[in-house]
Structures are given as structure tokens and as C-alpha cells.
Amino acid sequence: MNERRNKLVSILLNNMPMLLFVLLLIAFGAIAPESLQYQNIENAFKQASYIGIVAIGMTFVLLTGGIDLSVGSNMYVSAVIAGLAMQRYSVGAGPALLLCLVVGAVFGTINAIAVTKLRILPFVATLAMMVSGRGVGLMFSKSRAVAFPDPVTGLGSAELFSLLPYPIVIFALVVGGAALLLHRTQLGRQIYALGYDKEVARKAGINADRVQAAAYILCGLFAALGGFVSVVQLGNVNAGFGKGDEFDAIAAAVLGGVSLFGGVGRVFPGVVLGAVFIQAISIGLVSAQVDLYLHPLITAAVIFSAVLADSLRNTYLKKLSRRNIRLEV
């Protein structure tokens, strides 16, 4: 009896993000039934795709126990450089994407060097990159919006086999790739090990610096890709592009069950769900015509509940795993 209740509570707490998601859908359905149309759901996924890609990159870093605050600036710089290359040197879409990814990886490499070689705390190192990265981007763009040419932005609304929008397809590929990397390669398992304890990892013969560097480089790469996917949908890169996205990415990962202490969390379904969740809230609020000023408060309340559930779950699991000495009848 008691055991059954304990099991129920732990199932509930383990699936808190999912549960909140369902509750939210029900709430929207009740207030504004029209918000649950297929089109809105597809939009939620489409808009979630870019933040989801960035959040997956962020997940690598969070799993090592670090944090990357510079992804928003990274998105900006890499998109600006790719956009200018297309505008001025009429580079094609493919090479532009490649250039964008290279810039993102370089950005991530600088973070990696600061964290592993110069031993600067990730929070501080990536904060500095957030500020200076945006500065470099603005130098290139002269603070003006950079428009991507038509054929590229056409991709944003194009659909694969006129069924699935390209952003969602790319998102799905990234999810599959990241899950494969985390669970089926040595690097992935070592990222989890590093997040558990860096010192223990080093003693176990893991090249801790290399693994940590890889996480930051991958994060930079995925940030640039996420930025590109976003611009393809928006059409141009304005001076505020990417600002605040680092926090959405962190929120998506944490909503999806990634621990800020490192070592715990999964890309699928966790982070994917987290990213869709955040977009679904804003789409739902718009179509339910909720007061605009209330949007941030409601989003915050949902994130807060998810994180609260996570902490409740940890205390509860600790209590459960504590062995009873006496068998009480």
C-alpha cells in the first residue's frame, strides 16, 4: 500500500515536465480550444527547433558541470559573418552554412581554451565571450541588420517531401546525432563521467581537459547551427539577434531534466521536450490572448515549477533510498 503510493509519487515527480506540459495543453484547450490546432503544434516544433539545437549544444556543457553563457553572441557573430559572405561575395548557401559552423566552432574553441588551459571558471570565461562576441559581431555588421538572400530564406518555409518543414528535419537529425554521441561513443560516456567528478575522471585515466574542450566546441558548433536555422526562418540578422537565447537554451535543458551540477540528463526526450515546451507556452499564450505583460511571469512560473519538481524529486528519492532499519507493521 505504502510502497504503491511511493512508487506513484516517484513516477509523478520523475515525469514532472511531461505532466506540466499536459496540464498546460489542457489549460489552453479549456481557455482557447482553437490554440490546439495542428498548425499551432507544428509551429511550436518549428520555432522550438532552433532553440532546441542550441539547448542540445548547451546540454554537452551542462553535463560536464559547466555552463556556456556565450551561445547567444555566438549565434549572432556566426550568422552575421555568413550573411555578409553571401551579400558581398555572393557565396552560396552551402559554403555559407559551412562558414557559419566554422565560426561557431572557433568561438567554442576559444571558450574551451579559456576554461581548460587558462583555468578560468566557465561562468566567467563564457560571460566575457558573451560580451566580446557581440562586440565583434557589431563591428562586422556596423550595427545594421544583415539580410540573408532569398534562396536561403526560402528554405525556412520549405518542406521536405512537402510534409515536414526543414527546421524540424534538421532538429531531428541533431537530436539523433547528439543522442548517438552521448550514449554510444566513448566521448559521450566520458562527458557524463566528467560531470560526476573531474578528479575521479582524471584518476580513471580520462583526458579530462580534452573531453571538457570537446563539450565547449560542440556547444559552439550547435549554437551556430541553431542561429543559422533561426535566421533562415527570420530572413535577416538584426543587432539584437540571439540576445537572451542563452537563457532560453539553459531553461530548455533544465526543463528537460539536465542537472546544473553535471552528469545527469538526456537529450531525448528530455531536452527536446523542454525546448518545445517553452515555445508552446508562448504560442499558447498568444492564441489564448493572454495579456502580453503576463507572458514572462507565466513562463517563469512554469520553469520554476519544473525546477522545483526536480529538487523535490531529489529530496524525495534520497528519502526513499534511505534504508529503513525497522520493519514497521
Binding site: 548517438l180 554510444r184 561513443t185 566513448q186 566521448l187 560516456r189 566520458q190 557524463y192 563521467a193 560531470g195 560526476y196 567528478d197 575521479v200 575522471a201 582524471r202 584518476k203 580513471a204 585515466g205 580520462i206 552528469g263 545527469v264 534504508r323 529503513n324 532499519i325 525497522r326 520493519l327 514497521e328
Partner: protein, 514 residues
């Protein structure tokens, strides 16, 4: 004549001018089990760290199977076939057994950077069978008991074809059943021709296992020879440099009449039931129980770390109220936990900060600004360190993690003594510390009792309790089963009481209190 697996030749190392190892020359034949003993700080860890490539000796050479060996990092030692099974296990508890076994070298799927899951599982299952551990390689480490984790570490060593395996205090957190299983596995390893270095303070274990024994003291090798030439007495004499005639210092005082701690029908479902006892001024009251008897849980509840459902705790006649550690400190209750590394010390902080930690409010100056008078705090810490004879470099710079186990425990006690506790709760205070330091601790406890401090002494070592206490309470199944006065101490009846009330359900490896 078998060849030498490992030779140390005049190895010396000093830190900041203090010799940690001087001129150690030792040769270990292949397939032999060497029992390495010595007090904390005698140089055992330094010697092993030299072997592991963590430190480089100042002088001397090492040879591995006759070949000169100069490791510069832990990976060098691993490659050379040396595996360490540490006291604190180095496993990732967020990962599965198979991940832990292959974390630095997974089998790959036809040279792709993809893990060959099937092969990894099959090999892992074989290794687990070799150490007699029946569980799925997919089990997360966090679900394993300390004994099972130890076996996983050994499986990991086997997976790397380790020819030399070093065990450092492997039995401290094991139950009796797990311990005998470990010994069986160790015997098997030796039969396969692997060379083993076994470091322990448990002299009985060393006598039971070792082919050869080596004793270190103050960085020097003081004696070595075949295991059957050693007795517990000789080992102690060699380690300490003198015969310890008596393990326990004599008590000069008797308990006073005044009761300082009154516990009445304390109950917490699933933990303890109906616990009542009175602790008097200057009394050393022992609490004995096997693992899982509820002894440590009782200590945590009395100190206020865990809640209780019914009953009362009165300190000096007044109700202690809702228990919390802060309340307890104000009431003059101090708690030395059984787990000093994780719960008792700030390992990265200097010794002096650790000592001052619980009495900082006393050095707060300038009214409500409460700025700490660092000089006064340091002075108090220094006095305390001197009176307990803590062996450390300059205490305001030397970090707690660099002290030996016995000295760390003294730091924890110093911290509490500085708060002038009327009641001191000690949970396994001598776990993992050496003979000499134990004796010093016993003397400190006697001295405190003679000055009127009431002491609740929790231990799983019966001999220690009979040597130290005025009374002993015996717990099992979360209840007090019996009570013995000093004149009635009798090991057999105490043990009988301790086994009473243990149902078959919790008799199976009742472990995992930590």
C-alpha cells in the same frame, strides 16, 4: 626462485624539508601478497603515490619485473599493469557498471568511434563472473552496496590485465559477509600469479592474508619478513616503535550524579523505537550495535539532523525543543560524525578554519557588524591544536586534506571542543585511524570525561567500548535490547543482545548506512 615483480631501491622523498620516505628498499616477489602496515603518516601513501606516478621520488629507483620504472602520471602506472583499489572508490555512480569498466577504452564497432555495446556487455559480464558478482552490467553504480562497488573496481583492474594490484584499506565499509567474499577473490587473484600489495590498519586481516609483511614508520622501512613470523603484538610494536602494554588508558574519574541528557521514548517510524536513556555528567556511555542496528540514526536524531515523531530530548532538565544542529550547538551538544571526510571537515580549507568553524560567533566583534577577529580565532585554534597535539604544518596554511586520518579526526574534535560542549556525541571516532592515534584519542576522551563532559560513544567495535565506557547500551532493530554496567561487561552477552531482534529480512547484508 621467483623473480621480483617490484623493487624499490633506496627511494626517498621529502615535502617542504620533511622526509616522508627515506631510503626505502623493498622487493616483492611475483605472485606474492605483501601486507604493508604503518601508522598514518608513516609513508605508506607516499610510497604508493610514487608507484602510481602521482609524485616523483627525490632519490632512488623503482623496477618493475626487472625493468626500471619511472612513471610520471597515473596513466603510466595503468599502462604498466598496476591497478589501485582506493579507500574512496573511484567509480562514477551516475553511470552503469559497464560504463565504469570501460570508461577509458570501450570496445569499438569495426574501428568506428561507436561503442560496440554487445561486445562491451559480454566482456563485462565475464569480468563480473570472475569476481563472483552476479548482476547485470547495465546496473547503475548508485544501486550497489560498498562491497559490490569494491568488486567492480577489482573487475576493472582485471579488465586491464593488471599484474600488480594495490588495495588501500579495502574492508572499512564492508560487512562481515562482504569481507570474506573479498578475501576469497583476493586469494583467487594471488593464485593466478598476480602480485598484491595490501594496506590496512586491520592487523587481523593482514595476518590472515599476507605472505610477506613490511612495516613502515616515519618514512623508514623498520621491518620486513614472512607473514608467519609476525604476531599482532609484534606488528604494533614495530609500527609504534614501542610496546603498547595497554590499548586503553586508565580512567581516573567516575560519572557525576547530575543527568545532562534525558532521552525519553524517542521514536521515528522505520528508524528507531522507544529509545530511553540518561547520560550523566562525566559519563562515557557506549552505544553498541551491528551495521543497520540504528546506532548512527539515533545519534543523528539526538543531535537534530533528522526528525523524530514522538518522545522527548531534554538537555539539563529543559526540553531541547524542535531539534536542529544550531539548537544543539547552543545547548552545548557536539557531534563527531562517522564520516569525517564528507560530513566533518572542509577538506580544502586550512586546519585553523576547520577548528574555528563552529565557534566563530565567539570571535565576532564590533557589535552587529560581527566581523571576525581573525587573530583571536587563530590563536584559539593554535592553542587547541597544540593541546590535542595535531601534527600539521602551519595551521593557517596547511589544508585539512593533507593531514593523516588520525590528525583529521583530531581536527574535528578540536572544532567541537572549542565550543565547550557539555555533551559530546562520537560516532565511530577511531574508524580508519592507526594504533598510536587511537591511543591518543582515547586519552583525550578520558580527559574530557574527567572534566565533566558527558560522552555518548557509538561504535561497532565492542572491545573499544568495553575498554572505554562506564555503561553500554546495545541496539538492534532500532531498539535498545540491553544495558550493561561496567562491572557486567561480557562480550558474549553483549553480542547476543546485538543479534536479538534481527529478522531475516535485515540480516541479509544489512549495510549501506552511509
Amino acid at each position: 626462485m621467483t623473480r621480483s615483480a617490484l623493487e624499490f631501491d633506496r627511494v626517498s622523498k621529502s615535502f617542504f624539508g620533511v622526509a616522508a620516505l627515506s631510503d626505502v628498499t623493498l622487493s616483492i616477489p611475483e605472485g606474492c601478497l605483501l601486507g604493508l602496515i604503518g601508522e598514518n603518516g608513516a609513508g605508506k601513501s607516499t610510497l604508493m603515490n610514487a608507484l602510481a606516478g602521482v609524485i616523483t621520488p627525490d632519490q632512488g629507483t623503482m623496477r618493475l619485473f626487472g625493468v626500471p620504472f619511472h612513471p610520471t602520471c597515473p596513466a603510466d602506472a595503468t599502462r604498466a599493469g598496476i591497478a589501485f583499489i582506493h579507500q574512496e572508490l573511484n567509480l562514477f555512480s551516475n553511470l552503469s557498471v559497464v560504463d565504469n569498466l570501460y570508461i577509458d577504452g570501450f570496445p569499438r564497432l569495426c574501428r568506428l568511434p561507436i561503442i560496440d555495446k554487445r561486445k562491451a556487455y559480454r566482456q563485462a559480464a565475464e569480468l563480473l563472473t570472475a569476481v563472483d558478482l552476479c548482476l547485470s552490467p547495465a546496473t547503475p553504480i548508485e544501486l550497489l552496496t560498498p562491497g559490490e562497488r569494491q568488486l567492480v573496481e577489482i573487475a576493472k583492474a582485471l579488465g586491464r590485465n593488471a599484474r600488480i594490484i594495490i588495495f588501500d584499506e579495502p574492508t572499512t565499509s564492508l560487512t562481515a559477509a562482504e569481507r570474506s567474499k573479498l578475501f576469497q577473490v583476493i586469494d583467487n587473484l594471488r593464485r593466478e600469479g598476480r602480485t598484491i600489495i595490501y594496506i590496512s590498519h586491520s592487523l587481523d586481516d593482514v595476518l590472515r592474508l599476507a605472505d610477506t609483511i613490511a612495516v613502515l614508520r616515519d618514512g623508514k622501512l623498520v621491518s620486513t619478513g614472512p607473514g608467519d613470523q609476525y604476531s599482532a603484538n609484534r606488528m604494533v610494536a614495530d609500527m609504534v616503535g614501542r610496546e603498547i602494554a595497554q590499548m586503553y588508558p586508565a580512567r581516573a574519574s567516575a560519572p557525576g550524579p547530575e543527568s545532562v541528557l534525558d532521552v525519553k521514548s524517542l521514536t521515528q517510524p522505520g528508524m528507531i523505537k522507544d529509545i530511553s536513556f540518561t547520560l550523566h555528567e562525566g559519563e562515557v556511555l557506549g552505544v553498541f550495535g551491528l551495521m543497520g542496528s540504528g546506532r548512527s540514526e539515533l545519534a543523528r536524531i539526538v543531535y537534530g539532523l533528522d526528525p523524530f515523531k514522538s518522545g522527548s530530548i531534554r538537555v539539563r532538565g529543559t526540553d531541547a525543543g524542535a531539534p536542529s544542529p544550531i539548537r544543539s550547538i547552543r545547548n552545548g551538544v557536539a557531534f563527531v560524525t562517522e564520516n569525517r571526510r564528507q560530513e566533518g571537515l572542509l577538506m580544502e580549507a586550512p586546519v585553523s578554519e576547520n577548528i574555528d568553524l563552529s565557534s566563530l560567533r565567539r570571535y565576532a566583534r564590533y557589535g552587529s557588524a560581527r566581523i571576525i577577529d581573525r587573530r583571536a580565532a587563530l590563536k584559539a585554534a593554535r592553542q587547541m591544536a597544540e593541546s590535542l597535539q595535531i601534527k600539521s604544518g602551519s595551521i593557517d596554511r596547511h589544508r585539512a586534506k593533507h593531514l593523516s586520518g588520525g590528525n583529521q579526526q583530531k581536527v574535528v574534535i578540536a572544532k567541537w571542543l572549542l565550543t565547550d560542549p557539555g555533551i559530546l556525541i562520537l560516532d565511530e571516532p577511531t574508524r580508519g585511524i592507526d594504533v598510536g592515534a587511537k591511543y591518543e584519542l582515547y586519552s583525550i576522551i578520558n580527559d574530557l570525561a574527567s572534566r565533566g563532559t558527558a560522552i555518548l560513544y557509538i561504535s561497532s567495535e565492542l572491545e573499544e567500548l568495553t575498554g572505554m565506557c562506564d555503561r553500554i547500551l546495545v541496539m538492534s532493530n532500532g531498539e535498545i535490547q540491553a544495558q550493561f554496567r561496567h562491572s557486567e561487561f561480557d562480550q558474549e552477552s553483549v553480542l547476543q543482545a546485538a543479534f536479538r531482534g534481527r529478522t531475516t529480512a535485515n540480516q541479509t547484508e544489512a549495510n549501506g548506512e552511509n
